[in-house]
């Protein structure tokens, strides 16, 4: 029997990009395999829930879980894995802060079902059929899981020990995190296993970032050229870098586009969106309301801009549905 520490990977509501990011370790995956015993990883190997149930509590050193939680089944699985794992790690934006699927919290389940199965321009559904959690036809009954109303981050469901941010986290981050977990020198509980500095610190354009920015306008990226060597925020495009944790190597900026904030905030900040909003507002150049409004026209979707990955776990969380 192997005495290597046991590690598991699991997903909930996610796109599969986090799984791909593990695969992107490429030959690095071999080092992982040498160091740990992967006890389950549904995307690559089969495992059964009762195998996990049969393990003693805490038998798994660490489970890295990606995806948000949006159904009863996921919640059950998450609670089970919490019990069986010494350390539970939220892997990627969706588990960390709800991720892009969390934007669905601005809408009700009914709005989603109604559009998809009735209103969509390509749907032909005169009888208004909807998928049923129980459906009987000539004595045969099929079942579908019920969709829940809200999307939650992992720590809104169970206790989480550590976080790996990013949509998706980078292979380097994963390698470092595994190193830390295996070293036994554990950081304080609740730590985000990524640098405690803002993205601007590792941005290749940081030297061109002015001390004080006075925003006269915000430009939307499709309506103006983005210069390749200057601070994107200073050029007047909304870049989330100042309110976002470092660790990705400023990948989007390397692609000549603004940071959209997928790593979340540093630990000093409770709410990434509020932080960015307040810093933007205090740096708007005009002082009169009509001119201020004009500047803000360049940010037509504040929720999608400031909370693109973090709505579910933010102070806002969700829209209270009126439907």
């Amino acid at each position: 029997m192997s005495e290597k520490p046991k590690v598991g990977f699991y997903w909930c509501a996610s796109c599969g990009g986090c799984e791909e990011s593990v695969v992107d370790l490429a030959e690095g995956i071999l080092d992982v395999v040498k160091a740990v015993d992967i006890v389950f990883w549904p995307v690559a190997m089969d495992f059964k829930r009762k195998d996990v149930e049969a393990m003693p509590d805490g038998a798994i050193l660490a489970t890295l879980l990606n995806g948000a939680v949006r159904s009863g089944e996921q919640e059950e699985m998450v609670r089970l894995l919490r019990r069986k794992s010494k350390l539970l790690i939220a892997y990627g934006s969706c588990a960390h802060t709800g991720g892009i699927p969390g934007l669905a919290n601005q809408f009700s389940r009914e709005e989603i079902l109604k559009f998809v199965y009735q209103e969509s321009p390509s749907t032909a559904n005169e009888k208004n059929t909807r998928p049923q959690t129980r459906f009987a036809e000539e004595g045969r009954e099929t079942h579908l899981p019920e969709l829940h109303q809200v999307v939650r981050s992992l720590d809104q469901v169970v206790e989480v020990d550590y976080y790996l941010p990013g949509c998706p986290p980078t292979p380097n981050l994963l390698k470092n995190a595994l190193g830390v977990l295996l070293s036994g020198k554990l950081p304080p509980k609740g730590a985000v296993l990524a640098p405690e500095t803002a993205l601007c610190n590792e941005c290749p354009r940081k030297d061109s970032k002015p001390q004080d920015v006075a925003f006269k306008e915000f430009k939307r990226p499709h309506l103006a050229r983005i210069e390749t060597d200057k601070c994107i925020l200073a050029q007047g495009f909304m870049c989330m870098g100042p309110a976002t944790r470092a660790g990705c190597g400023a990948q989007c900026v390397q692609g000549n586009m603004p940071c959209t904030g997928c790593f979340g905030a540093t630990s000093r900040v409770r709410d990434q969106g509020a932080k960015m909003l307040s810093s933007v507002c205090s740096n708007i150049d005009p002082k009169e309301e009509p001119e201020i409004d004009k500047v803000l026209e360049g940010i037509p979707d504040p929720v999608g801009t400031f909370y693109r990955y973090g709505l579910a776990r933010s102070l806002l969380r969700r829209k209270v549905s009126t439907v």
Binding site: W11, C12, A13, S14, C15, G16, G17, C18, E19, E20, S21, D24, A26, E27, L30, K34, V43, A44, M45, D46, K48, R49, D51, M77, I100, P101, Q106, F107, I112, L113, F115, S120, P121, S122, T123, A124, T129, R130, P131, Q132, F135, H143, L144, P145, L147, C167, P168, H222, L223, I226, Q251, C252, Q254, G255, N256, M257, D301, V303, G304, R308
Partner: protein
């Protein structure tokens, strides 16, 4: 090191389908785990299959939560539908933005997009051929299931090849990272162009990559020929009736009716191979409709003008198919020389056009790898590719835009309507796997009917059912805008009394 990988797969084998006795265990709530495709098979009194339902148990609702977002954010938001094929959604969205703002990308920008896109197609197809679906063939359908994976492939074709696959995918993904900032969820797409160009100084390494990529595609073709085509058993399996459906086919073609992944018109052929429609993305709602069933969250696409006639094949049924098999059927050829030769060999071997064998998808996929690799070579050697003229800034007021690409898994359509500020009011997505969802359900039912007779469930059932749908390279993450790309599966078999007599999980 290889020993370590082997151990992992040993474990997978143990849990998965190698040993029928472990596979036949009735397993409880895992059946309800999301991330699982579900198959419910209902038997008659005599124990024959009455009906099999292939269900997708999940839905996310990207179309709805896109409302109110600036359209220019859509390439990055919709890529989160699927982390396996983010580049497909990113590109379909970007093309929808071109249409929305009525702006033509500059010639270099178009070429950069096409270069990135073909690179993505090559690496994604390689993933499927060597890791996901191909092992059925390369290692062989009769090999123990525990060997039908990348490790088995490596044993069959050699360790060097295994390394080659890993390294090649890595290098191809580096090109996408160069242009798109990130390979998982890239950021290059803007209406009228791309955010970043290629520097002339960096081209030598990409030209080298292009050459190696073509060599790799040729090699893959050779592997397929040697291992699959030279084995009459495999050829019999490909052409077996169990895996054959005579449906319509849809795929994108260029001006000469050659397969194109990035741009062109959508062409539809009927089960006899005759063109019955050719249309631009703008007209998609005239030709494509989605049918709803109460037992799955996924919608079933069909040809609107033919109509929904249930899960049936033939010229009278609107059921159509997409992805490699369909693309080759719907086109008159390939636009590059080596792929064209392979295309001719394919139809000649399989008895002419169209090919109705689902399993031929694997072969068609390799032919598409050749095309993608040849196209990459053309593009990296095109002087336009290093031009700095990469954007046309939109000036028109947006209203509606539709973009289409051929994703690895088939025709992908993004449709947005906005207010005058370019904020999304309505978004509609027809994703690739949906184009195959009806045919896939038919394949699963046909396999079940062929393999369950008089109450006897063949041990190989699940593998065979699986092979039936794995050939499509289904991505239910895309289909429901929620699930990960590779899909475990649960099959449950119900008797007439409504009891579960068998439950098989993978």
């Amino acid at each position: 090191m290889e020993e370590a990988i082997k151990q992992i797969w040993e474990k997978a084998r143990h849990g998965a389908s190698a040993n029928p006795s472990t596979r036949r265990i009735v397993i409880d709530p895992i059946t309800r785990l999301e991330g699982h495709g579900k198959v419910d098979i209902f038997l008659s009194d005599k124990g024959n299959v009455e009906r099999a339902y292939f269900q997708v148990p999940e839905l996310r609702g990207f179309e709805v939560f896109s409302r109110g977002r600036p359209a220019e954010d859509m390439p990055q938001i919709t890529s989160r539908i699927c982390g396996v094929c983010p580049t497909a959604h990113h590109m379909a969205a970007t093309k929808a933005l071109d249409d929305l703002y009525q702006v033509e990308p500059t010639v270099p920008a178009r070429k950069i997009r096409e270069l990135v896109y073909n690179t993505f197609m090559l690496e994604d197809h390689a993933l499927h051929v060597y890791v996901l679906g191909g092992p059925d063939f390369i290692v062989g359908p009769d090999a123990p299931a525990g060997m039908r994976n990348i490790v088995g492939v490596i044993q069959k074709v050699g360790v060097e090849v295994g390394k080659k696959v890993i390294v090649m995918r890595k290098r191809l993904r580096e090109l996408i990272t160069y242009a798109g900032g990130k390979v998982i969820h890239p950021v290059l797409g803007l209406p009228g162009g791309v955010a970043k160009g290629f520097a002339a100084a960096d081209m030598p390494k990409f030209k080298e990559l292009a050459k190696d990529g073509l060599e790799f595609a040729r090699f893959t073709m050779q592997v397929f020929r040697d291992i699959v085509l030279k084995n009459p058993e495999y050829v019999k399996l490909i052409t077996s009736d169990l895996y054959t459906h005579k449906t319509h086919y849809m795929g994108m073609v260029d001006a000469s009716n050659k397969v194109n992944f990035y741009d062109g018109l959508l062409r539809v052929v009927d089960p006899s191979g005759k063109e019955i429609a050719k249309f631009s993305s703008r007209q998609y709602t005239d030709y494509i409709a989605e049918h709803v069933e109460p037992w799955s969250y996924v919608k079933f696409c069909y040809l609107k003008k033919v109509g929904w006639k249930g899960f049936s094949e033939g010229a009278d049924s609107g059921v159509y198919s997409v992805a490699p098999l369909a693309r080759l059927n719907a086109a008159d050829g390939m636009a590059t020389p080596e792929a064209q030769k392979a295309y001719e060999e394919y139809f000649k071997t399989l008895g002419g056009k169209p090919v109705h064998h689902t399993m031929a998808n694997h072969w068609a996929r390799v032919i598409e790898m050749l095309y993608a690799a040849e196209r990459i070579n053309e593009l990296v050697n095109d002087p336009d590719i290093t031009s700095s003229n990469i954007r046309t800034i939109p000036t028109k007021t947006p209203k509606a835009g539709i973009g289409v690409v051929e994703a690895p898994r088939g025709t992908l359509i993004h449709h947005y309507e906005t207010d005058e500020r370019g904020l999304i009011q309505k978004a509609n997505l027809i994703v690739a796997t949906q184009g195959n969802s009806a045919r896939m359900a038919m394949s699963v039912e046909k396999a079940a009917k062929g393999l369950i007779v008089d109450g006897k469930v063949s041990d190989g059932l699940l593998n065979m059912v699986e092979m039936a749908f794995r050939a499509y390279d289904p991505c239910h993450g895309c289909a429901t805008h929620s699930l990960p790309g590779q899909m475990p599966i649960v099959a449950r078999i119900w008797n007439k009394q409504g009891q579960v007599v068998e439950q098989i999980v993978r």
